[in-house]
Symmetry: C2
Subunit: 477 residues, 2 copies
């Protein structure tokens, strides 16, 4: 007999048919009702055991976490909230789960406890829902770009380039620790290392993606990136997945359009394709919020927030306008900001971004045309000589979710900026080549995938939206 | 006016309409015909310049590699092999390309030269076709799994586990070279390193994927993996992308079915969706083959090979049968194998795999039930006590493209094997937990994505199917 998934059976109306299913026991109550889950959906199927005719020893082995194989008859369910159930005719224990030892019991566990058991936490409703949404969201990303003529590019993870400038890097080497060979001058002899040079883990695939955009037109990356920063926050990971589209002949306006359309499209995809998981997460979010002090509670529910983003235009505001708003804002005047906004040129902190998004505009905001002094060397200088064509997309509860720019396409201006940064031109010879040969306006952005998953699932800590989080002092599993 | 892509225009029949397009000049001949490409397709659109009414200075700047913006009228083409062309009314040079300096001229370049210019090689027909096919193949992978109920799992890239056992690893650290702090006992004090322990780049996500399969049922990974092996061959990369599905309640037969169905499905996808690129690569392949000695030539063309794999069953052969065939084969008897096959238990070399696939069966082959002694610790021991439920899928011209197995689900047997390998149980506590709590039969495989791209594109060297290859002594860009 074909084994069906729980998701298939719950949608089925083949009443009185014999069916087979395999999964794990979530709960077993009244010596009779098994709530069975196989990961195909957040919903369990109820399997009703004829306990009077079942061996007691077998009944005792039906415990939370046990793997079982069940055959029986699909019938209309008597209980409410479920359409079908299985009257069990055959039950086999595939793998026991000793209730005295199994860590994932049907009760509330602390998030920290679950992180320590990251290999098992996906067996809970919350984490299985989060990880299915994460998977669907990943697919939505690929689908969006592929259907819009983008080519997926795998930029290198190990990089010999140290000019990316986006943050602290991890060293990659095959030298034994403290046994790297030295040159005659007493320096580390990297020519003897695996790649014959110093190498690090990438902090961004942007520069390499640009080389592909200048040939294939529209490209995107979606891969792991790394920051060796000692940030123990709910918003930072040392290893995270980033999405970086890059498009030739596209200016900053096109870039803003693309980022908005992209985010709306992938969120609409999960709203359409992850209904059960999101319904569960929506309830979970409401419960979490209800335990916060009134002032900190989200004004919208999870599903409401997602629909709001999909249905409304992002507000586009120049940095200069934003500074005006912030300078004249109540919290600034009442000195409630930790970093008061006094003058044009200040870098915006999380508190300012949150004020603009959550209090002032009450919708996603795209800030653009930032001061050149606080942005990266590769961003296109505006004619005013002091701002660059940068943009950040700011989201409620998350802060910066996208950072992007039109890239400096003029060889002379780019060289000047590189020199001013103290980067050697020969380090970026290939990047400069793009400006030497057939240069053109082009733009792109980076989106931290985990922040998007956080937004879509309502999870407060970024460590809970990636299977095995890497953070300072933590690389278990 | 909306700017159209070359792909859109070539499919368009809006004759006598005004159109706009941006792209790069591939060739410019007779001071009149621009072959324009924007990366959206391998095909160029011909743009006809009214050279008598065009400034000579401007004409001189229309060189190979230059970025141009063109407006004009779409008309039926006079030339053969193309349906439409553009009569140029406006031409703007966006970025010049000095013909004395631009490395990518319209002539045959050596593959080695192009590798050294990996940032520009994607501007050639061959590499743009390969990279578009690679992108489509990536999407086909996600599409196949998502449509079949699998969840995408991002297993960690930086791993604290050193028991994966699939090969030499790269160290990841934030210690300055030769300046790692020591403990009182004079050992490296990894507690002071970023993660508080020794960490490496992953060689496989399988063990972590198993934890997710035992909760979500069907999962797959698709991410970068690393081998620090000094292999300077046309088949090895230090950084490559791997696909690893893992399925609960699936045995080795199911695993063989899955691998065959998966490969056929993704190849069928590119046959359907990359017709122009594959037609070009098919011709290229034929040309390359024609330059080889008769005996080394492929018996089939590229498209023919792809269709053959999609349309025919893979031959399933046990290791024991394969050894019999090899022992009695002509090359073995005539001592033509570098490694003669004398007895059961021998590890198969590339020459043996190629004989089976290319000479004996003349189709893809799945070998299964290998001797336990030559396979990994986590593979399910058969009842004979000497073979394991392992499988390898062997492809013509490529060799091993898939390696997989049913996993050992019995705690006691797994512990025995781990101990026999000298791995400490506490290193794999979480992996053993899967066998303690609700264990079940499960299986999976790994497929090196670049080998699949090689097969799909007919490229002979694996360095030519990934944008920026990482190999010993090479991490440029």
């Amino acid at each position: 007999m074909t084994v069906s998934s729980v998701a298939e059976l719950l949608k089925s109306d083949l009443f009185l048919q014999e069916v087979a299913v395999k999964g794990w026991v979530r709960t077993f109550r009244s010596n009779r009702f098994i709530a069975l889950n196989d990961g195909s959906t957040i919903n369990n199927i109820q399997c009703v055991v004829d306990f009077e005719n079942t061996d007691e020893e077998l009944l005792r082995r039906i415990t939370t976490g046990a793997a079982v194989s069940i055959k029986g008859t699909l019938v209309e369910s008597q209980g409410k909230g479920q359409s079908v159930e299985i009257q069990v005719s055959e039950l086999e224990i595939l793998g026991d789960s000793n209730p005295d030892e199994y860590p994932i019991q049907p009760k509330k566990h602390s998030m920290e406890f679950l992180r320590e058991n990251a290999h098992l936490r996906v067996r809970t409703n919350t984490f299985s829902a989060v990880m299915r949404v994460r998977s669907a969201l990943s697919f939505a990303v690929h689908k969006y770009f592929q259907e819009n003529g983008f080519n997926y590019v795998n930029t290198p993870i190990i990089t010999g380039s140290d000019a990316e400038g986006a943050g602290e890097m991890f060293r990659v080497s095959t030298f034994e620790a403290n046994k790297a060979p030295l040159t005659e001058e007493g320096e580390i002899d990297y020519s003897q290392d695996f790649f014959g040079k110093e190498t690090n883990l990438t902090v961004s695939g942007q520069l390499e993606a640009e080389t592909y955009a200048m040939a294939l037109g529209k490209v995107y990356t979606f891969g792991p990136t790394f920051r060796a920063e000692n940030s123990n926050t709910t918003r930072h990971l040392a290893e995270f997945w980033m999405i970086e589209p890059e498009v030739a002949f596209m200016d900053l306006d096109g870039n803003m359009d693309l980022s908005e359309d992209f985010i709306k499209s992938v969120l609409a995809y999960v709203l359409e394709n992850c209904k059960d998981d999101l319904a569960f997460l929506d309830q979970r979010f409401a419960k979490e919020e209800s335990q916060k002090p009134q002032a900190q509670r989200s004004e919208m529910g999870l599903l409401e927030k997602l629909r709001f983003v999909v249905d409304n235009n992002f507000k586009r505001v120049s940095y200069t306008e934003a500074i005006d708003i912030l300078r004249n804002s109540k919290p600034n005047k009442k000195k409630k900001f930790q970093f008061p906004i006094n003058e044009w040129g200040a870098d915006l902190q999380s508190e300012h971004e949150r004020f603009l998004v959550e209090k002032h505009f009450k919708c996603p905001v795209i800030l653009f045309d930032y001061p050149a002094s606080i942005k990266a060397f590769y961003m296109r200088l505006n004619d005013d000589g002091k701002t660059v064509r940068a943009m950040d997309v700011l989201f409620p509860g998350i802060g910066e979710i996208v950072g992007g720019s039109q890239r400096e396409e003029r060889l002379d201006v780019l060289k000047e900026k590189i020199n001013a940064m103290g980067i050697e031109e020969k380090e970026l010879w290939w990047y400069l080549d793009l400006r030497k040969f057939g240069t053109a306006v082009h733009s792109g952005f980076g989106l931290g995938f985990e922040r998007l998953v956080q937004f879509a699932t309502g999870m407060g800590n970024i460590r809970d939206v990636i299977p095995f989080p890497r953070t300072p002092q933590n690389a278990e599993f």
